[in-house]
């Protein structure tokens, strides 16, 4: 893939990933074909800041966990009323990292299926 396009992708989406993973993402994208860029660009990454807001407002209902794709943990959090409030508080500190990890997983799956 073209260097310029990769840089543009990284500039637009850097906030969705942990900064130390950006070189790895760049390396993965370089191996990919130009025609697959559209698929990567249409991936719906979750904003860590938005997830933090959701966690602060509706964390006890497990909505933050549902949104990032942890359905099992979301149900557990919902049924326990956010682990009696303790889990909900802990998630205020965990959710941004968890969101970035989920975004990375999503990108890894996409690059693995599109690269050859």
């Amino acid at each position: 893939m073209d260097n310029q396009k990769i840089d543009m992708f990284l500039m637009t989406n850097a906030k969705y990933f942990e900064s130390h993973r950006l070189p790895l993402i760049r390396e993965r994208l370089l191996k990919m074909d130009d025609s697959k860029l559209l698929h990567i660009q249409t991936l719906n990454f979750k904003d860590p800041t938005m997830m933090l807001i959701v966690s602060l407002l509706a964390g006890t209902l497990g909505i933050d966990r549902f949104l990032i794709g942890d359905v099992g943990l979301g149900v557990a959090k919902l049924l326990t009323c956010g682990g009696l409030g303790i889990w909900a508080i802990v998630d205020w500190f965990l959710i941004m990292g968890a969101t970035r990890d989920k975004n990375m997983e999503k990108l890894e799956i996409a690059t693995a299926s599109y690269s050859y």
């Binding site: 942990e18 900064s19 130390h20 682990g83 409030g85 303790i86 889990w87 508080i89 802990v90 998630d91 205020w92 500190f93 965990l94 990292g97 968890a98 970035r100 990890d101």
Partner: protein
């Protein structure tokens, strides 16, 4: 009380943030955990479980927080149960209890100061090791660190 050392690699800013969050989280939970000492311990365990896939630096600090909270849990629980017996039982309010509460407060305040200091040390890119708890964490995490050094 706290030794500022170097970790075997330079942690990334995100790792530093996650490690400082483990200390900050224990501060926030104190507000909710005031009446029940186990709340702090549970919160630090949940935070550790949430960071199981994180780097060894983050996990090291999660374990250190867990150990300090475990120690405080025992100390605070004894004080809490003693107080309950004084209020609802027939136990007397003695000088021993006052002495115990003073010791309990000293430990809790030291933990609070230590937590804030640890956050500041991590923000400077260093690796804070608490007296006793740091060495215990080293023993617990030794295998983990060894594996990371070998596999990168």
């Amino acid at each position: 009380m706290i030794e500022s050392t170097e970790y075997h690699y330079k942690p990334h800013p995100e790792e530093q943030e996650r490690a400082t969050n483990s200390y900050l989280m224990s501060l926030v939970v104190v507000i909710f955990g005031m009446p029940l000492p186990i709340v702090n311990l549970l919160a630090s365990v949940i935070y550790y479980l949430g960071n199981m896939k994180a780097s060894s630096f983050v996990r090291w600090h999660c374990v250190q927080v867990m150990l300090t909270q475990l120690f405080l849990f025992f100390i605070n629980s004894v004080g809490f149960i003693w107080l309950m017996f004084i209020i609802f039982g027939n136990w007397e309010f003695t000088n021993y209890f006052i002495a115990y509460v003073l010791i309990l407060l000293a430990f809790n305040i030291s933990e609070l100061v230590g937590t804030i200091l640890s956050v500041l040390i991590i923000k400077r890119g260093k690796h804070p090791k608490w007296w006793i708890f740091g060495d215990l964490t080293d023993i617990i995490m030794a295998e983990d660190e060894q594996e990371e050094r070998v596999h990168g």
